[in-house]
């Protein structure tokens, strides 16, 4: 058998295909999922969540956050989503109200406690209360009334007394269907 001889191949014809340039962007981690944002880095997180991802649990509450309905957890700390330009969020973990429950659908104890105490008025500001409450319970697993008094949220339906009970219920580990 004749040995295979090395053969010099002619260069391939021009294909005209130019690989796409890797676009700059901001890598975001929201509720455990990765996203890359390639638009305006100054866009506030609130509008990215609502307009782009359609995660509408985080509510518009006013230009300064106002009622606290736009709170999200940023590396575990409650912050107003309208005050967070996406540029600041690279490498940080965002959790919204949609991300509080476990992947199997089991609720965070505070979510369950809100249901148990019927701590809901119109419900619009509820996601903000939950985020603020989860942050509080992380810092103080057994918060007193003075700690709960510091929550920044507002509510016109008057769910504050029921929210207070729900936070205490979750802290006591009693959340669960009555």
């Amino acid at each position: 058998m004749a040995p295979v001889q090395a053969q010099v191949l002619p260069p391939p014809p021009e294909s005209g295909i130019v690989p796409e340039k890797i676009r700059d962007g901001i890598d975001l981690l929201i509720n455990g999922e990765h996203y890359r944002h390639t638009g305006d880095p100054q866009m506030p997180l609130l509008w990215y969540l609502r307009d782009v991802l359609r995660l509408t649990g985080t509510k518009y509450a006013g230009g300064h956050g106002g009622s606290g309905a736009d709170l999200v957890l940023l590396d575990g700390k409650a912050v107003s989503a309208i005050a967070q330009p996406l540029a600041r969020l690279a490498g940080k973990a965002v959790v919204t109200v949609e991300g509080l429950a476990a992947n199997d659908g089991s609720l965070h104890p505070l979510q369950q406690a809100f249901i148990d105490e019927d701590a809901i008025g119109c419900g619009y500001c509820t996601p903000g209360w939950l985020i603020a409450g989860v942050d509080l319970l992380r810092r103080k697993p057994h918060p007193g009334d003075d700690d709960i008094d510091q929550l920044p949220n507002l509510c016109r339906c008057g769910c504050q007394t029921r929210v207070r009970r729900a936070i205490k219920r979750a802290a006591a580990g009693k959340a669960g269907p009555r």
Binding site: G39, R54, G121, G123, G158
Partner: protein
């Protein structure tokens, strides 16, 4: 240009063009609720049993909730009424918020679900009249279906928890009967209703049906709805309602990437307030919210004031005092019983006091918004409204479409308080959709909501009482000045007072000589319906004044009130209503007992009490307040309500506690002020709702449950809060607060 690629019926990939030509791609699939298909239009499907009930073969039950739920719990309580009469297991029931139910007959709209108004205290009374029948008719159809299958008379069958049971014990699930039942003709006479002793759901408490969806962020309010190709509209309103645009430069705004168009809006001449644009405005239309807001920030606008350019709320108050102090006749003499002047001549004691209350804004949690799509022969809207029929009227007028060509969806509403009985924002959204020929998603900012509202007018109440030697209340003279909420709404001049006070309000039917006068104030600042109106302002004046009377007579204010009420009896009110004096005295005694009123003079803290009645429902509050220096702490709040039969005790407790806290927040802090014709408050820092720390840790709610037909509880617990608080503060500090908001006035007086 934003695009949506439809991947399947349920999933929807959203692509938005971003700034600098780049793409913003939501990798996550948004649910196709973008084009909000109803889960089922309850009427037109194979197993629909009337307009409110659908039962599927697997036994799952879908019940429609017709009235907008603004946080009042009617999406839970109305379906419970139907489910109880239908006799089904609540755990198998799924509730659907119904859109506007409308058919057309001879070109005129026919409202197929009947009453569709939320947050005005009318939902439960209306539901009690007709929704029980809806449940009973559906159950009757299922019994008929089983009877035909068995060849037995329906009267020999009974139902139990979603089953029809034959005399021999055979059981048929509703699901297995649903298909047959839906083919049976409706009964010619209404089937009998359940014996109340057999209620399994009515009178038994349950949490909100939407609770799980709310705490997981899945509930979609109108503001959370999208049509794939809708553009976002944000507005800049003229700061003067009667002003106009002097100069506009859109160059920079239009240069923002994603901004599509700038459109001017003007109120339509001759249209009633609340049905057209509230003030001249300039809209920026853009591909997404961020682009729209950036465009709005770069708009150069110069507004020119109209005739009201120097109006102020303090000048209006001076005008009110001049009217009340002068000799001019009232705009309307609302009531005149007996002879107040003659009674004054033989009086032992005469008392007078003047009370001042501020302008108020709605400050709903969900800011004003509207989603609209106009097609050639139909319109689709998602509207945060308390009155979808009124919203439809606005769309009909602006599009020329018949009512049955207009699809109005009403998801759960982020607070109403009367703001969403008006539909100026629907007019704006429709006008903008026409101007850009695309679906529009209109979003107001918090600042716009506060500065372009239909406010509650400020008011001055001048009260006079004449007491005889036996401490009997001989005469009552009430004079009130305010700017009517009904001005500019097609209401005759001599009816403008009806939004401001009631002719038969407490204590009118209980005093032999009673006179009530109303003086109209003129203001260009828009006014409209407001939660608790007109009870909120009147109860503060009247119930504070009764406390002042008690103090002048050196008497226990509870005793004074019980003497004014007298023995239990029924007194006729206007419009065929009655005042049940015994029930009013009962709620008063209940709160007094709970707060241990017998110690009213001995406690270091101050105790305050007040009672009121609203459309056949009764309420009283007792409040314990502590003063340390200038620091006010609300130690205890007790509220008792009697609304007749209680549909959902859990919901009622929440509603009463919630209304109490809302009223506390308003009484302590809330005031809109007008200067130079403009509203001065810009955000919730200027119009502060009460913080968690300012409010009591608990509200103790006592509900009287009885057999009488249920009354509404929407705002029932609000009117007595401010006077009970002011009365408690008086006993804690010896300072009588006659002006709201209370905190500011208290600090001034201390």
């Amino acid at each position: 240009m934003s695009q949506g690629i439809r991947l399947s019926r349920r999933r929807f990939l959203q692509v938005l063009a971003g700034t600098a030509g780049s793409l913003l791609v939501g990798i996550r699939f948004a649910e196709a609720a973008d084009a909000p298909l109803p889960p089922a239009l309850l009427g037109d499907n194979i197993h629909g049993l009337g307009p409110y009930v659908r039962i599927d073969e697997d036994g799952s039950v879908l019940i429609g909730a017709r009235d907008p739920d603004t946080g009042t719990g009617v999406a839970t309580s109305l379906p419970r009424i139907i489910a109880d009469e239908l006799d089904v297991d609540w755990n198998n029931v799924r509730v659907v918020a119904l859109g506007l139910g409308v058919d057309s007959r001879n070109g005129k709209p026919v409202w197929s679900y009947g009453h569709q108004v939320g947050g005005t205290g009318t939902s439960i009374p209306a539901a009690w009249r007709d929704l029980r029948q809806a449940g009973a008719v559906a159950r009757w159809l299922l019994l008929q279906a089983a009877a035909r299958r068995l060849g037995l008379a329906a009267s020999r069958l009974r139902s139990e928890n979603g089953m029809v049971i034959a005399p021999d014990g055979r059981r048929f699930s509703y699901g297995s009967l649903a298909a047959d039942a839906s083919k049976i003709a409706l009964p010619t006479t209404l089937p009998p209703l359940k014996n109340p002793a057999d209620y399994r759901l009515i009178g038994h408490g349950v949490g909100d049906v939407d609770a799980r969806a709310i705490v997981t962020g899945q509930t979609r309010y109108a503001i959370d709805h999208f049509y794939g190709d809708a553009v976002v509209a944000v507005l800049s309103h003229c700061p003067w309602p009667d002003g106009k645009l002097a100069r506009i430069d859109t160059t920079d705004a239009l240069a923002v990437d994603g901004v599509l168009k700038v459109v001017q809006l003007r109120p339509e001449r001759g249209q009633p307030a609340g049905s057209t644009v509230i003030a001249p405005a300039v809209a920026v239309l853009a591909e997404n919210t961020w682009a729209a807001l950036q465009g709005q920030a770069r708009l150069k606008l110069e507004w020119k004031p109209g005739a009201s350019g120097d109006a102020s709320s303090s000048a209006l108050e001076q005008q009110a005092l001049a009217l009340l102090g002068g000799k001019s006749a009232p705009t309307t003499r609302v009531r005149n019983i007996g002879d107040v002047d003659a009674a004054g001549k033989k009086a032992a004691r005469r008392l007078e006091a003047t009370y001042f209350q501020p302008w108020l804004a709605h400050a709903t949690a969900e800011t004003t918004n509207c989603l609209v799509r106009l097609d050639k022969d139909r319109a689709s809207l998602v509207v945060p409204t308390q009155a979808p029929q009124a919203a439809s009227a606005v769309v009909q007028r602006l599009t020329g479409l018949a009512a049955d060509k207009i699809d109005i969806r009403v998801p759960r509403v982020g607070g109403g308080y009367g703001r969403r009985l008006d539909h100026d924002y629907v007019a704006e959204a429709v006008m903008l959709a026409k101007a850009i020929n695309k679906p529009v998603r209109l979003l107001w900012s918090r600042e716009q909501d506060l500065r372009n509202d239909y406010y509650r007018s400020g008011s001055v109440h001048q009260l006079g009482a004449i007491i005889d030697r036996k401490r009997q209340l001989l005469a009552w003279n009430q004079r009130m000045a305010s700017a009517s909420a009904l001005t500019g709404r097609g209401v005759p001049q001599d009816h403008l007072w009806t939004s401001e006070l009631q002719a038969d309000q407490f204590p009118a039917p209980l005093v032999p000589n009673y006179r009530s006068d109303w003086y109209a104030l003129e203001s260009a600042t828009p006014r409209g319906p407001m939660r608790g109106m007109p009870h909120l302002s009147n109860a503060f004046a009247v119930e504070s004044f009764i406390d002042e009377i008690a103090h002048q007579m050196r008497e226990d204010p509870l005793k004074t009130r019980l003497r004014i009420l007298g023995e239990a009896r029924q007194l006729p009110l206007d419009n065929g209503r009655t005042l049940d004096v015994g029930r009013l005295a009962n709620v008063l005694r209940l709160v007094a007992d709970r707060i241990e009123w017998k110690n009213w003079l001995r406690t270091v803290n101050g105790l305050g009490i007040a009672c009121w009645h609203v459309d056949g429902a009764y309420v009283a509050h007792a409040i314990e307040a502590a003063m340390q220096g200038d620091k006010l702490t609300i130690q205890r709040v007790v509220c008792a309500v009697d609304v007749g039969r209680v549909i959902n005790p859990t919901g009622l407790q929440g509603q009463v506690a919630g209304a109490t806290l809302d009223a506390l927040s308003i009484a302590m802090n809330a005031a809109i002020t007008i200067k130079g014709g403009q509203v001065q408050q810009h955000d919730l820092r200027d119009y502060p709702l009460a913080s968690m720390a300012q409010l009591p840790n608990e509200v103790e709610v006592i509900t009287v449950d009885d057999e009488r037909d249920p009354a509404g509880a929407s705002f029932l617990a609000m009117p007595t809060v401010a006077p009970a608080l002011a009365n408690a503060v008086f006993r804690a500090s010896a300072v009588r607060v006659r002006r709201l908001p209370l905190m500011k006035e208290l600090l001034r007086l201390l």
